[in-house]
Symmetry: C2
Subunit: 368 residues, 2 copies
């Protein structure tokens, strides 16, 4: 059985590596000749906008999924039609994840608390949004944003003008800037027949809009129940199949939804070594309507992203129990090129190790 | 960095899957167009006896290893010469593993107890061996034996004659048949710079000469120390790099070496989920002279081989915590086509689950 993957990044790569033991085959589509997934699975090379190529992919697969959500919904719909392949996760979830306004509206509709926000399509809209939502805030493009790209923090009126100069011209969204206590994400899978499995909550640290560190399990049981409840409603709303992620700000014990990702997520990489079944395997099980695997944690895990620079392999592997994931990418400033993961028996031991590691590996962040 | 693998079976496949996260590339050589490793890594298709092809493999790799030990030592030596690639494990270990007589002699030389044995090159030799070693015994080809192939149990003189008829014509070895209490294997890795890491002992159940079930950790600490000591002497003797396995019979608390395998081993598949670092990753670390990973067990693991027939995927995946490994092979009677693994918190829980599983999956063996 062949799974098609739109996007041949590290997510597609880890998807393939976790799916081979299940007896699956993979076919990726990506514009880059050296795409990480293309190093471990056959690659159709070409643009995500090439309907003919997408159709070729779909014809050769039983199910098509994506490791990258900025694929044109219209192109995808047209390519899938009559191909005989199923698309999973479903298109409406993809479309919602692509549009910050649709996302916010859905959060509100499902009773999932989110930040105060306003759609901004003109300079007048921006003035109104600044008045209604207040300062400070964040101006974001409605579409094509990821890893902090297409965003500007707005602290005062001149900053708002500058942000408008930089981002204006495409539909935007203005939302309040939340002085959060921490950021968390909840990741879970649903299969077509309705079974749902939710992972322990992840505690995330970003820097420059990019995830740097995840620790899991994270937070009190009350927070876990709350986040899992929100995720379940979202999964059921879409009659979802696959893995879905919601990121939240935590403020005074409350969850405020920030965004959703209709796919496996960087904050879930710890599940490879830290959970009974990885998010990648569960995504595959879910889209193939196979029984979901246990999402139980095997200990207290931490995942550290390598951005732009990979520490020396020997230095990493000499640390007992440290698991390396090299995505096979050329290092470039700001580029995610790998991560490492460790699993300890207690949260305190984990945090002590993470503190030392962050200092020794000089990855540019520290633990609060 | 590219690792060449002679043999594209399931061992090569799992080697590649465990090596991609380290940022490695792979190139396999195998005669079969549908070789399991060729489904996850580039494949040079051709015979193991094709010196030119082996040379092509060696020229494209930094290091060449094997997932199958019945490769001609002379061909390999000739192919490696001047290629710039290193071969690991070392040729003398491969040569010893290919010849049951050399193997027995080495066990004796290193003070590793083994069964009583005699080389048998003629009918007269056989008579002599029967007198000296006694009955019952096992007549085996000196070379090209694996998974019980090229062996005959000899209970009396007519059986000896029949075995000679069947196997004679090639150099043989006759050894005592040991009424063992159980079979175990010890697996460990050594890197060139001398570091050694040894896994917990594995308890193995064979049927028809083929491994069916492994449980690990296994046996008393005394047995572990004894087996690890034997393995270390062997690793140091060869100034080995890579993973090495020795299989033993256990009889009255004593270990009797049965055979060695200069490679990752079927009885070590449990290390993928059941140990901090898998035997596959440690083999790669060892042959690349990288720091070895922890061999500590994460719990009490069991590995069940699927021979000739694969249970339904849905049935397997519906069992919590059961990890499936499908090798992507066409089912054929007697063929190893996959395995599953489970890890429990106690040996008693593991054994109870294994008992149920063996009955439910109808894999043709039961637990004593």
């Amino acid at each position: 059985m062949t799974v098609g993957v739109l996007g041949g990044g590290q997510l597609g790569r880890m998807l393939a590596l976790s799916g081979y033991p299940l007896g699956l085959s993979f076919l990726c589509l990506d514009p880059a000749v050296d795409a990480p997934a293309g190093q471990v699975a056959p690659l159709l090379r070409g643009a995500f906008t090439d309907t003919r190529l997408l159709r070729r992919l779909a014809r050769r697969c039983e199910v098509v999924t994506f490791d990258w959500e900025n694929v044109s919904v219209a192109t995808l719909r047209s390519a899938m039609r009559g191909s005989g392949a199923r698309l999973a996760p479903p298109l409406p979830a993809l479309a919602t994840g692509q549009d910050r306004v649709a996302e916010k509206r859905l959060f509100e509709r499902l009773g999932i608390p989110t930040t105060r926000w306003q759609a901004v399509d003109s300079r007048d809209d921006l003035e109104r949004a600044l008045r209604r939502v207040g300062l400070p805030g964040v101006l974001k493009t409605r579409r094509l944003g990821y890893d902090g790209k297409g965003q500007a923090v707005v602290r005062d009126a001149p900053a708002a003008a500058a942000a408008w100069e930089r981002l204006g011209g495409v539909p935007l969204l203005y939302e309040e800037w939340v002085p959060f206590d921490c950021e968390v994400s909840i990741i879970g899978a649903r299969r077509r027949s309705g079974e749902i499995a939710v992972y322990p909550l992840c505690g995330n640290i970003h820097s420059g809009g990019v995830l740097r560190l995840t620790r899991a399990p994270w937070g009190a049981p009350r927070l876990q129940r709350l986040a899992a409840g929100h995720l379940r409603r979202m999964l059921e709303h879409f009659r979802y199949s696959g893995v879905l992620t919601i990121e939240f700000f935590v403020r005074g014990g409350r969850l405020l939804a920030n965004e959703l990702a209709p796919r496996v997520h960087n904050s879930g990489h710890w599940t490879i070594e830290g959970a009974v079944t990885s998010q990648f395997e569960n995504h595959l099980r879910a889209i193939l309507d196979l029984p979901l695997g246990s999402t139980a944690a095997l200990g207290h895990a931490a995942m550290i992203n390598f951005i732009g620079h990979m520490p020396a392999r020997t230095a990493l592997l000499s640390r007992p129990g440290l698991h390396l994931h090299d995505y096979g990418k050329q290092p470039r400033p700001g580029r995610k090129i790998g991560h490492c993961c460790l699993v300890e028996t207690t949260a305190a031991r984990r945090d002590a190790r993470v503190r030392r590691l962050l200092a020794e590996l000089a990855v540019g962040i520290t633990l609060p």
